[in-house]
């Protein structure tokens, strides 16, 4: 399946991916009213220092430990995409405790949200990828058979 991959050598550390992510998942049609003056809660986060930066989001693991560990049964995997049902999440953060990539960060109301590849929001394809000015984030098939 297609997944998001990042190349830290090309990452500018501009954080545009975070804004594009927050906008794509805001449900609003205008970026300014969706984001301006607000604390954003993106599902991708740029890590690093002044030398190296890297955008981290869900890896959609072949054997996702978050799904196995979720105490609410809120995380599922369908067609390779790891999803969370936010209505079931109680914000216990067990998924944060187990994700080896540090990819999961709570949303605005304390329940968890995660990258679902923008497949079901208005963007329809990963907004972080579409808006990355240096192709440091890509959405493609890699690796062999799964």
């Amino acid at each position: 399946m297609k997944r998001i991959y990042v190349n830290e050598e090309w990452c500018l550390g501009c954080h545009l991916c975070e804004y594009n992510c927050a906008f794509a998942n805001s449900g609003m049609s205008d970026m300014v009213s969706a984001l301006k003056g607000k604390k954003i809660f993106p599902r991708i986060h740029v890590e690093g220092d002044d030398r190296i930066t890297l955008a981290v989001s869900c890896r959609h693991c072949t054997d996702p430990i978050c799904q196995k560990s979720c105490i609410a049964g809120a995380i599922s995997k369908k067609d390779g995409v790891v999803k969370i049902d936010r209505t079931k999440c109680v914000g216990c953060l067990t998924c944060v405790l187990v994700c080896p990539y540090g990819a999961l960060v709570p949303g605005e109301n304390g329940t968890m949200q995660k990258c679902e590849l923008c497949l079901e929001n208005s963007c329809g394809e990963p907004a972080c990828v579409r808006g990355c000015p240096n192709r440091a984030i890509v959405y493609e098939e890699r690796g062999g058979a799964e």
Binding site: Y5, R59, V96, L97, Y101
Partner: protein, 409 residues
């Protein structure tokens, strides 16, 4: 075509179904449920009382789970296991034949033999959905609640009912809260937070006798209460395997593939002893993630696949009134501490490995730490100084980051 029986209907059972179906789409599966409920998320019973979920949303799997997976769900209790004849006897008298069986019976509350307990009118355990619903029914805004046990169950119960009760006192023979996962200083921080949120504690003290609505404490104090919750501890439900001649310690003894000592009998979840890679010994790891992983592993092996569970460790993420606490692994070796405005983090290291941690208040990206324990990553291969400051992928070399974020994982 194989036929499978799973005794129990909690997380390990659901995981076992999913494990079997990852290998075998055809064989018949019968799930024996002692509780009259669709599979639900047991740790959510406190959130139910707190109003953060409801019985519909706390279903661990959707309504069509059993149908989708070709399972027969039987509401009954298993009373005997006959590994010679490969049959499970139910309390209805029915006998279920099997090719492979998984015992996923969980645990039951340990009720200490306290004098006069039978004189207490309103007393509750806090293990099941029915316990939670009955407790909610008994509470009024004026209720004085006494909870015996300041462990994970007792304290989550206290949090869940705080706004439903008048006052809550928690006692424990241990000298601190959460004594199974926190050291004294960390326990003190959490206790202070709990007290600030209205809980009262009597630690190093417990009820030795009850006279109706009065608890006479070891210290000589008297505590009047309206509702009593017993959360002293749990015992693995091992009886079926023990009575059938299987090896049982604190839990049902299993190998890395969740096989018990009896042929074609597997065990998973809180009833089973499994391998704890953080200590290198077998123990009951009564936590939900472990129940899932054990159940899934059992299911795969029952269906003829081959899967081993080798890197299970104790770990907990638990929050009380907005304060999050995460713990993992073992607390041996050398301790390094980092404090900040927002919290405290303790790391336990030895032999070039991260052995365990306690995080209070600062829990972001803790999975990076957990994975260092699970994978036994040599600390000399990462930037340990940076790791102490914050959980980040920058602790790894560029090559490792390339593998993690540039490939299928």
């Amino acid at each position: 075509m194989k036929s499978y029986v799973i005794i129990g209907n909690g997380t390990a059972s659901a995981a076992c179904v999913e494990g079997i179906r990852s290998v075998d789409r055809e064989g018949g599966i019968t799930v024996v449920s002692g509780e009259n409920h669709h599979v639900y998320s047991r740790p959510l019973i406190s959130y139910l009382l707190e109003g953060k979920t409801d019985t519909e949303r706390m279903k661990y799997r959707g309504d069509s789970f059993y149908a989708d997976n070709g399972c027969d769900l039987v509401y009954a209790r298993a009373v005997a296991l006959n590994p010679g004849k490969k049959r499970v006897t139910l309390d209805t008298g029915e006998e279920l034949p099997y090719d492979e069986v998984c015992v996923a019976t969980g645990s039951r509350p340990f009720v200490p033999p306290i004098e006069g307990l039978d004189t207490v009118d309103r007393k509750f355990g806090f293990m099941t959905l029915d316990d939670a619903l009955a407790l909610r029914e008994a509470l009024t805004k004026e209720s004085r609640v006494l909870i015996v046990g300041a462990g994970l169950i007792g304290l989550k119960c206290a949090e869940g009912i705080r706004d439903l009760a008048g006052s809550i006192t928690v006692c424990d023979l241990a000298d601190r809260v959460l004594s199974s996962i926190l050291d004294p200083e960390c326990a003190g921080i959490v206790q202070k937070h709990l007290e600030a949120n209205g809980l009262h504690f009597m630690l190093g003290d417990t009820a030795v006798r009850f006279e109706c609505n009065v608890a006479l404490m070891k210290s000589g104090k008297r505590v009047e209460f309206d509702v009593l919750v017993l959360a002293v501890g749990v015992r693995a439900e091992t009886g079926l395997v023990k009575d059938a001649g299987g090896e049982v310690g604190r839990g049902i003894v299993t190998d890395g593939r969740m096989r018990s000592s009896l042929p074609s009998v597997f065990a998973a979840g809180d009833c089973a002893e499994g391998f704890d890679s953080s200590t290198g010994s077998n123990r009951v790891l009564a936590i939900l993630p472990n129940a899932y992983m054990q159940g899934f592993t059992a299911g795969v092996n029952m269906a003829g696949g081959d899967r081993a569970l080798t890197n299970a460790i104790p770990m907990n993420s638990i929050g009380f009134f907005g304060l999050h606490v995460m713990t993992a692994g073992a607390y041996g070796g050398e301790m390094t501490e980092e404090r900040s405005e927002s919290g405290l983090r303790r790391f336990f290291t030895g032999e070039d490995r991260l052995l365990g941690f306690i995080l209070i208040g600062e829990t972001g990206r803790a999975g990076i730490y957990t994975s260092l324990i699970r994978e036994k990553t040599p600390l000399s291969s990462i930037d340990f100084e940076l790791m102490k400051k914050s959980a980040s992928n920058m602790i790894y070399s560029a090559q490792i980051r390339r593998n993690k974020f540039g490939g299928v994982v």
